[in-house]
């Protein structure tokens, strides 16, 4: 229990640190590509993660004492809590698996590298890659996925956000503004 509380506290510290730093910093560097932007944020998160790690033993001893002194370790719901915790860990591992699976299946970069490797001369122009990626089809597929997921609906020729889509779009927009990510996509 003390370990879980400690890790959650450290994680909150990382999120707060990351958000505060980005929102306080006036001159976010200009990124030539999304890769550079991602690297910048990854380094920031890693910095706060390592910084938070130094407080582990201090926080752990605090929470261990708190759990011993309090009723927490004796409470009847503790067994249920740990059963739920085993699910959280399982879902966490599953999330990593799913994201890797998704990357293997859908990653645009990997698809392009594979196509270059498959091509006769092992090299392709931008127009060849456009033809393989099929941009026009990609628009329709993405919109169909959104309709299927209930985030948008199609009426006549126009697409509108559903209630569920509006919540997700608002959250995404808030996140992008908070971390100064730009319009993204």
């Amino acid at each position: 229990m003390a370990q879980i509380l400690t890790v959650i506290s450290l994680f909150i510290f990382v999120i707060v640190g990351h958000w505060t730093y980005v929102s306080m910093k006036k001159n976010i560097p200009f990124f030539e590509s999304d890769g550079q932007k991602l690297l910048y944020h990854t380094k920031l998160i890693a910095f706060f993660a390592v910084l938070a790690g130094f407080f582990y033993f201090f926080l752990y001893s605090f929470f261990a004492k708190w759990c011993r002194d309090g009723m927490i370790d004796n409470d009847w719901w503790l067994d249920g809590f740990y059963a739920g915790y085993s699910l959280v860990l399982f879902y966490g591992c599953f999330f990593i698996y799913l994201s890797i699976y998704y990357m293997i299946d859908r990653s645009v970069s990997s698809k392009m590298m594979i196509e270059i490797d498959k091509s006769a001369n092992k090299k392709m122009t931008y127009n060849d890659l456009i033809a393989v990626y099929d941009v026009e089809k990609k628009y329709q597929e993405a919109l169909d996925d959104l309709v299927y997921g209930g985030l948008i609906k199609k009426t006549d020729d126009k697409y509108y956000c559903t209630y569920k889509g509006a919540i997700i779009a608002r959250l995404a927009s808030l996140f992008k503004k908070g971390l100064k990510l730009g319009r993204g996509g």
Binding site: G35, Y85, L89, F95, I104, Y133, Y159, G185
Partner: protein, 172 residues
């Protein structure tokens, strides 16, 4: 108890991986992600049944409890960081999220597919991906041609192998 929770979750995940590979190799699956989530629902039940049916005594062994004592916070911390980092990437890079945001800000007016294309240029996204891949040294540009670097070639071959192994399209 925390030792049991930790071991049971890893066992459940291991079972999930095994079943996932068996199912995708033996059956012709049409809805990949729906099948994966159905399997997760089944494993959730399995996880809870296993947790409540296993006795605590086995998990109190000294060596096992020491292992869990050190692994548990590390795993949990890494999972949380990975989740946050990946969540940020999805929000930033996802094509679907970007389209949903554009449609949301159009309000009651709505957007046609042509208007979406004007708001969000996927050709530019592809150019950006190529810039990224050049930046991280996966491809190089010679004249108007893009070529894989050694790193890019290894990447492509690993992904091709994984696509074949997981029965995903695009490897051949």
């Amino acid at each position: 108890m925390i030792y049991k929770a930790f071991i049971v979750s890893l066992l459940s995940f291991f079972c999930f991986c095994i079943f996932h590979i068996i199912i995708f190799h033996k059956l012709n699956i049409k809805h990949k992600f729906r099948t994966i989530f159905s399997l997760v629902a089944l494993i959730t039940v399995f996880d809870l049944l296993l947790y409540f049916s296993l006795t605590d005594i086995f998990f109190s062994q000294y060596a096992l409890s020491k292992f869990v004592f050190f692994s548990n916070p590390i795993l949990l911390y890494l999972l949380c960081l990975y989740f946050y980092h990946h969540f940020m990437i999805i929000i930033d890079r996802s094509v679907s999220i970007r389209m949903a945001v554009d449609i949301f800000f159009s309000g009651n007016r709505g957007l046609t597919i042509e208007e979406i294309k004007q708001e969000y240029d996927l050709y530019e996204k592809l150019r950006d991906e190529l810039r990224d891949m050049t930046f991280i040294g996966r491809i190089k540009k010679e004249g108007e041609f893009y070529q894989n670097t050694d790193k890019g070639l290894q990447h492509a071959r690993v992904f091709k192998f994984l696509k074949r192994f997981l029965h995903l399209k695009g490897a051949d």
